[in-house]
């Protein structure tokens, strides 16, 4: 434990070691504070170690597109194809639509077999029917004869009169996006009807619809783009696949997963999210009712609805267990001393001390699958609620409080960005925390070590977040209510900014650890080999920190933890 390397391990390589393995619980609050007091800059150092996969991951691999961007890109693709293949932009647009707006696929197919592509897409090189000397032609739809000036045709040459074309195109556009693949009305003819004809023959309203469909097609048919799934959001996203991170945050501030378009759900994978959402939709109604109206019998676990009477419960036969509704303890332990029939001092006392045996209850509940699900669902849902509340608070902060605060504390609003940052971090943490409950639900029951480790990490995350939330909500309140500048405001800034940074760091590590499937638990070997591999990259910045007394303590903690679990 005394070599340089080991210290690196503890401090830099897996910075999650810092917090995850920090040993005794009572150290934790100290860690939080000392970390940001002494070496808050360390956390920023971590971000600079650009060789680490994590920092590559944080590079933005998506671009948000506004409507004007979409039109511009679409236009560029069309003119690219038109230039390379020497065809009209309308023909290029038809080709691109057939090949899902994939420029290179169009080029490839065209140069491999132009004739074949022209046939399937409907771009005949020359008309299949010609009437070079005709002065009048008969429309194939209304059977009327018209002067050639009143007749139009697609590239194939089949003659139809202008008013039949107008009817044909109008009907097609109002039938939906299929109009983008419109063909000549002649049943045996595959010639495409391009945007040039639409522009000449459709009504203003229909032209507008057509152009919407064309825009939508560019996003929806293209494998590299999607619409932001947030209701009412009109931005699209283009995504560069390749890195492991699917999280996309839209300009509308909605975060979603590129892969499954559900709300962003790191560290949980898409499959688990789908399972969880399905499970929730199937069971949430029942679950909500059960949560709101019942408690499980502490002995037989059947849900019990208490609709009247005192706290002395007797479960239905065959269980017949007598227990206290409030503390769920055996009734035999109760009596005058504990508050009689209508209250329970044990419950009140335990609640006040905060030592109510949550873990025990949790373990008991897990015995029954429904109750097990309840446990995770309840917490998943309550973090969801907290997140929504935090979002509302953030909004309130940005629209109302910051301005006021800027006045009373005589600070420019730009100096108050740390408050917004804190709230953004809270919102993000609530999201992560929420998904850790879906993660926990699907964590195999028999992997006790992992489960234990997971719950430990989750618990730490929860308390860290509570600390930040508390500071951003309660402590800020006194400055919001103040009449004039307070001296302590700068201390508050340091504290909140520090908490934000520490919590951010902790949650990033949590996400990473869960995404790795808590592989640190699997074996000692895994931990140390990872440490060695990234050691060099982390080398330079670790020097300064290696000497810290805490480094070795933590390393000790780390090994202890690992040993326990192997």
């Amino acid at each position: 434990m005394d070599s340089e390397d080991d210290m690196h391990d503890a401090n830099d390589v897996e910075s999650l070691d810092d917090d995850f393995y920090s040993g005794e619980t009572e150290d934790i609050p100290m860690d939080y504070y000392s970390d940001y007091d002494d070496d808050a800059d360390d956390y920023f150092d971590d971000g600079d170690e650009s060789d680490k996969p994590e920092s590559r991951r944080s590079e933005q691999n998506f671009i948000i597109l506004r409507e004007s961007d979409i039109r511009q890109r679409q236009g560029e693709d069309i003119s690219k194809v038109a230039t390379v293949l020497f065809i009209s932009p309308e023909a290029a647009s038809i080709l691109l639509r057939h090949y899902n707006w994939n420029v290179s696929e169009v080029h490839e197919a065209w140069f491999a077999n132009e004739e074949n592509v022209r046939r399937t897409v409907g771009l005949p090189e020359k008309p299949v029917v010609q009437f070079p000397n005709a002065r009048e032609l008969t429309c194939g739809i209304c059977f009327e004869t018209y002067p050639c000036s009143r007749i139009k045709s697609a590239a194939c040459g089949h003659p139809f009169c202008i008013s039949c074309w107008e009817g044909y195109i109008g009907t097609a556009i109002n039938d939906g996006p299929g109009c983008l693949m419109l063909r000549c009305p002649e049943p045996s003819c595959a010639a495409a009807v391009g945007q040039d004809m639409i522009d000449q023959l459709a009504s203003v309203e229909d032209k507008h619809k057509y152009s919407r469909y064309l825009l939508r097609s560019y996003i929806e048919d293209n494998k590299k783009t999607k619409w932001c799934p947030a209701p009412g959001c009109e931005y699209a996203v283009t995504f560069d696949a390749g890195s492991g991170n699917y999280d996309v945050s839209c300009l509308c501030s909605y975060c979603f997963c590129w892969n499954c378009t559900e709300e962003a759900h790191r560290p949980v994978d898409c499959g688990t999210v789908a399972k969880w959402i399905l499970k929730n939709s199937a069971e949430s109604e029942n679950m909500n009712w059960i949560l709101a109206n019942s408690k499980p019998c502490p002995k037989c676990k059947r849900p019990i609805e208490k609709n009247q009477g005192c706290m002395h419960m007797t479960c239905t036969p065959p269980c017949k267990f007598e227990f206290c509704w409030l503390c769920l303890g055996a009734w035999s332990d109760h009596g005058e001393r504990t508050g009689g029939f209508y209250a329970c001092n044990r419950y009140e006392a335990a609640k006040q001390e905060g030592v109510y045996d949550e873990a025990e209850r949790r373990r008991e509940m897990a015995k029954n699958s429904l109750e097990r699900y309840t446990h995770y669902y309840e917490r998943w849902a309550s973090n969801q609620l907290s997140r929504q509340k935090a979002l509302a608070d953030l909004h309130q902060m940005q629209t109302v409080h910051l301005e006021k605060l800027s006045d009373t504390q005589c600070q420019p609003e730009s100096q108050l960005k740390f408050i917004t940052d804190a709230w953004l971090q809270i919102v993000e943490c609530r999201r992560v925390l929420k998904w850790t409950y879906a993660y926990g639900f699907y964590l195999p029951e028999h992997e006790h070590a992992k489960k234990q480790f997971f719950e430990y990490l989750q618990g730490e995350a929860e308390s860290g977040l509570e600390r930040l939330h508390q500071c951003a909500e309660k402590e800020l309140q006194q400055y919001l209510n103040a009449d004039g500048p307070s001296k302590e405001f700068n201390d508050f800034r340091t504290k909140l900014a520090g908490l934000t940074s520490v919590t951010k760091n902790y949650f990033e590590n949590l996400v990473r650890a869960l995404e790795n499937g808590l592989s640190d638990v699997d074996s000692n070997g895994a931990t140390s080999s990872k440490a060695t591999s990234s050691k060099n990259a982390a080398g330079s910045s670790s020097k300064g920190r290696g000497g810290r007394g805490k480094g070795s303590t933590r390393t000790g903690g780390s090994n202890k933890m690992t040993d326990d679990n192997v």
């Binding site: 209304c142 009327e144 139809f160 039949c164 009305p185 049943p187």
Partner: protein, 153 residues
Amino acid sequence: MASSNLPRRIIKETQRLLSEPAPGISASPSEDNMRYFNVMILGPTQSPYEGGVFKLELFLPEEYPMAAPKVRFLTKIYHPNIDKLGRICLDILKDKWSPALQIRTVLLSIQALLSAPNPDDPLSENIAKHWKTSEAEAVETAKEWTRLYASGA
């Protein structure tokens, strides 16, 4: 009914249907509604419907020819692409409709459908199943129905 507000196309089609009827097909507009046609199709030779006379109704909706005509069998028929209400599963009556098609082409297509039932794209599941599991037996039933419901009507 006055034909003045009837599109020229419908008038022309009607005239042609009456003056040069397609073999085995007759279609005549109803006296009080020029958009409603009484249709008779003779069962094609060498099909289970041979010898049968099948009555259909055909209606040209307001949007015609931009929308397909509505056609259904009035005579009971045992056919995998025709259900017991006489509705017909035929692509040109739905998404493959084109305004360049006509009443004549639609009726010819229906006649062809009688010659070549397509149990892979069924409207009537039971009949299609029958057709696929034992075609000979299904053809017998079709002949039986033709005799029972479509002879000398």
